[in-house]
Symmetry: C3
């Protein structure tokens, strides 16, 4: 439970807020590279942390993210012409490059234009592209002094090994992120229903249960373990970029089934649910404003390409990927109650909502536009959520004190992995982590 | 005319407001029983007096109306599973019964769950069903100490004698209720037009005029009297649950045509317009919030079943029943100007709006989201409205003083009737009332 | 650039604001005469300067614009019956004439009605019709004491010489009006694109360029001059009703191409772009509220009828006329990004938006609901805009001091013209004006 003040601090991200100041110390996914598919393609409106921008790719392929307001008379540069290495305001032809510099003022005499131009720059974010994502940084000053973008594994693998996407979430970023750190809900929210009780995992009207012949024995058994043990025990390790959240459930033969999630500051998560042969999955929750966010979704495999069928399912919207329209708005969303099917809820699916992503989305939205954390009854399975809040609130104090928040200048600390393991019940958590990830991919400092 | 303060008092019904406190002393229609048609059927969102609830019918058929917020992490119980005598949150499986008690906390060890459960109750309204309506009471404490639901005749007759429904009104409850107490407007708002002047009653493009061969002579004559005498004289009698509003118009042969309306605290009305052979009609205006309300509509006959044709007309939306969509939203409503037909208004209908209910609805909405009663020019035909306001405002003072407001603990006082009479012009109002209702059904204390 | 206070003063027009007080000193276009096509036709809702009214044409053809609220119980007179020289409230039959006088109170005894009626008047604006436009004046008191409506030429010519219309603008009136005073943007916003650069004027996917065979040589050459000289020099003359804004561009053979715009207090403009043989065009920007306005559009020729083809193009929405729906809402508008076509923007049109009017509309809307004039970089081509602001702000001081603002009581001062001229480069502006308009039509006091 948080105080009113702590909840405000955690959830408000606009300019000048404590958490807004934290976010502005990190590289942030701003849009997918494919939203700006070619040099001089149409500009795109984006909103980040409550601030409006226009993004464009110039003739040289470089992405600019600039304040959308022409300094001359305030016209919206979204309507601008993207031409010849700059975005030109269509009102009187003033032109700006990807760094926000004014490069042409054609409606006055050239000598006057030369005097006006230096004062006519528009604010521009620093940009970089990695992993088919356009990253933005709010830092002012020289781009060369910035740290690199976080060194996520998904961005380092060959394109054939990777698929990225995004989807709209219609609530505050923090509660959606908390949902990603809360593997306990897998035993309920994503459960199937059958034979009078919960069964396996349920997605898209197609429960994946033992015996359906679609998977490996281990992959099937874990759905049973998720359902059979709905009160997992949490252990949390911290490292140089965030937290490794480890949740243990009873498995067969005196073993434990461990699901291990990475939280990476300030708003990334690497999900559990994968054994080494499975795809890895991760998310970033980027505030649009304080009551909506983009969830960037990443799928990849360190060692092999994503297969055609696998890729097709991701594109169609399965697992952490949602089925969306062309604006990345989920088809099943707040306005239509996620197309909840009460008959399905009775007979097949715990929620009656089709899709893992949509189930997560629905329950986060349902906590309200901004969840009220002053009225809660937290319990043992909420340990990850509690530690997330502590770490993020600590970052607000660090930034207020002039310190770089955890991970912000340490891109290498983001080269970590998440995943599952089945191991003897008496193995301590550090051993489980070493066994599954080795010291290297657990997170620097998590285990030695 | 009211002061600004009085108008606020009359119209604001949220938690902690004076009128809100009054409403919370009475049983209130919350939804139709058929909105929860079977045990374990889908839950339904409702809003009452500005507060959100989720209503569900449990496996035993009992209705619960509970706060929609899971105390664990604040997820919305509307998405819950209605299963095995309780509503279960789909986030982590916490479960609540119709009285709001937490009956399962499955995501922690059983011993911890036992400690959590008593503190994890959700707020629940008291509920009862009568007359195919689910009634709710905001009282805390023991249900056994509550008075019974008001003893309306419509709830006491056999189901074949009754039809109930509801419809959305897009304005404050009080002005809509005032419309129901204002029989004077029948001479205008509901009039037909023909031959250069007003004629009879006009509904659904089908004026009911003398000579159309559809009715009894008396029933037809009254439409003529309504039009011929547009300035009725009002007398108001008070009784143990409210007011009996009596309006006299000139009839034929030195007789008066009396229309007598019941107002029952705090928000019910029994309409006039019926002779003993006709169906009785009544309404309740239940605030959803301060700018919209549900109008519950009741039709019944004390002594005979409703005929098939009669019932079909009610279901289709005639008289006080509106033609609505499946969410009880009128087809003709504020957003579409009630499909006003200006040609119809010129030639057949005083309003150009089809439907008695829709005419009432339009004119109440047209007074604004909350009518401004500080600018009015009340006259003699507004006497009922004036007395209504006085009685309701008195109730706010009673409740503030710790007294039960009129009728709140006296369900028997609601067994009254409304209706019409034609009688010699020199009969005093008390004699008219005794003649039409007898002492019993006038309202306890109205006449002796 | 303005201060925050000046920008508020310029843009806020509600009752009691300084600029609202200015507007209320002038006759204002309220609606088109054809919106009330016949005696006793349906009433029309209008909003002027943030205030709601209902407009109706009575049985004698006279237009009333009255407060839409019945003084009896506050019902909306929009739903009233327009009958027999008055608008009758359908709730209880109270009736009002075009001057707001209450002429019938039928729901009470006649003697009481006689006492009520004088106190039951509703507020009514003064109205007049001229140029197929219904004009309204907020003055109280005797209509005979009002000045005449402004003596615009478009209102004085025969109907065959004229076409009038209106269209919705979804932003504050002042920035839209400023767009009309800013002929500099013609070199950009309305330009066509072709062969790697700007070409001519672009409308409706049909660039009008030299050589297309559709016009006179002069008419074609000016499109080239507009594009070739994108930094026109401004001179501003003032006169008894406003400003004559003169902008010079290089033409061929040591001549200048002059475009001369009239600004007439407080919100009218006569556009440039016409030689004597062309149609004249003008606009009025009438605040609906502070974030939307009606733009009234006038086309006329002093000396000849509008041809069939010309008229057809105006009706369809070309030039200053927009393509609108039946509610005068543009088909291409804020909600659909004006149907911007980015491919068209690359290849044919500077904006990618079809229609001169829609290009103007888009760029004004894009400045925000109310443009922020505290952050601007004004330059020489903004001189007209600067002088407009000064003149309007001066009017607020005049009105505050009890003086009639410029032009308000001087209808004859509005008989002016705008237009273009090509003349030797060394001619002073006064000579250009005399040459094109003569002393008479320049504006009284502009030149002598």
């Amino acid at each position: 439970m948080l105080t009113v003040e702590e909840n405000e601090t955690l959830t408000r991200t606009g300019s000048g807020t404590p958490m807004g100041d934290v976010f502005r110390q990190y590289w942030m996914p701003a849009l997918l590279s494919r939203e700006l598919p070619a040099p001089d393609c149409p500009p795109v409106r984006i909103k980040l942390l409550g601030e409006d921008f226009v993004a464009f790719r110039d003739s040289a392929g470089k992405v600019g993210i600039v304040e959308p307001r022409c300094p001359h008379r305030g016209a919206d540069l979204f309507f601008g012409r993207n031409e010849d290495c700059g975005l030109r305001c269509v009102y009187h032809g003033w032109k700006f490059d990807v760094d926000g510099r004014c490069v042409d003022v054609p409606n006055v005499e050239p000598t006057i234009a030369e005097r006006l131009r230096p004062r006519a720059a528009v604010r521009a974010l620093k940009t970089a592209e990695a992993g088919e994502v356009v990253w933005a940084h709010f830092a002012e000053g020289d781009a060369d002094e910035l740290p690199g973008v976080p060194d996520f594994e998904f961005a380092a693998v060959p394109p054939e090994h990777r698929f990225v996407g995004k989807k709209l979430q219609q609530c505050n970023w923090a509660q959606a992120c908390e949902g990603g750190l809360d593997t306990a809900h897998f035993s309920y929210l994503h459960a199937g229903v059958g034979g009078g009780g919960k069964v396996g995992l349920h997605e898209a009207g197609r429960p994946t249960t033992p015996g359906d012949g679609n998977g490996e024995p281990l992959r099937l058994a874990r759905f049973r373990w998720l359902v059979e043990d709905g009160a997992p025990r949490f252990s949390v390790l911290s490292h140089d970029a965030g937290l490794l959240l480890c949740a243990a459930r009873h498995a067969d033969d005196d073993c434990l089934y461990w699901r291990m999630t990475q939280f990476l500051m300030p708003n990334h998560s690497l999900t559990p649910g994968n054994f080494p042969e499975d795809l890895s999955l991760a998310n970033t929750w980027v505030p649009i404003d304080d009551t909506s966010c983009w969830i960037f979704c990443y799928a990849w495999h360190p060692d092999r390409p994503i297969g055609d069928k696998e890729r097709h399912r991701l594109v169609a919207g399965s697992g952490i990927f949602a089925e969306t329209d062309e604006h990345f708005v989920p088809v099943r969303r707040r306005e239509n109650d996620y197309l909840i099917d009460r008959e399905l809820q009775k007979t097949e699916s715990y929620t009656g909502i089709v899709g893992i992503s949509e189930q997560d989305q629905a329950i986060a939205d349902s906590q309200g536009p901004i969840a009220d954390r002053t009225r809660e009854m937290l319990c043992q399975t909420d340990l990850g959520v509690v530690r997330f809040r502590e770490m993020v609130l600590q970052a607000t104090r660090d930034v207020a004190a002039g310190k770089a928040p955890l991970g912000a200048v340490d891109p290498g600390a983001y080269r970590v992995r998440s995943g599952d393991a089945v191991i003897a019940a008496d193995a301590p958590v550090e051993e489980v982590v070493r066994h599954r990830f080795g010291v290297r991919f657990a997170g620097r400092g998590a285990v030695s």
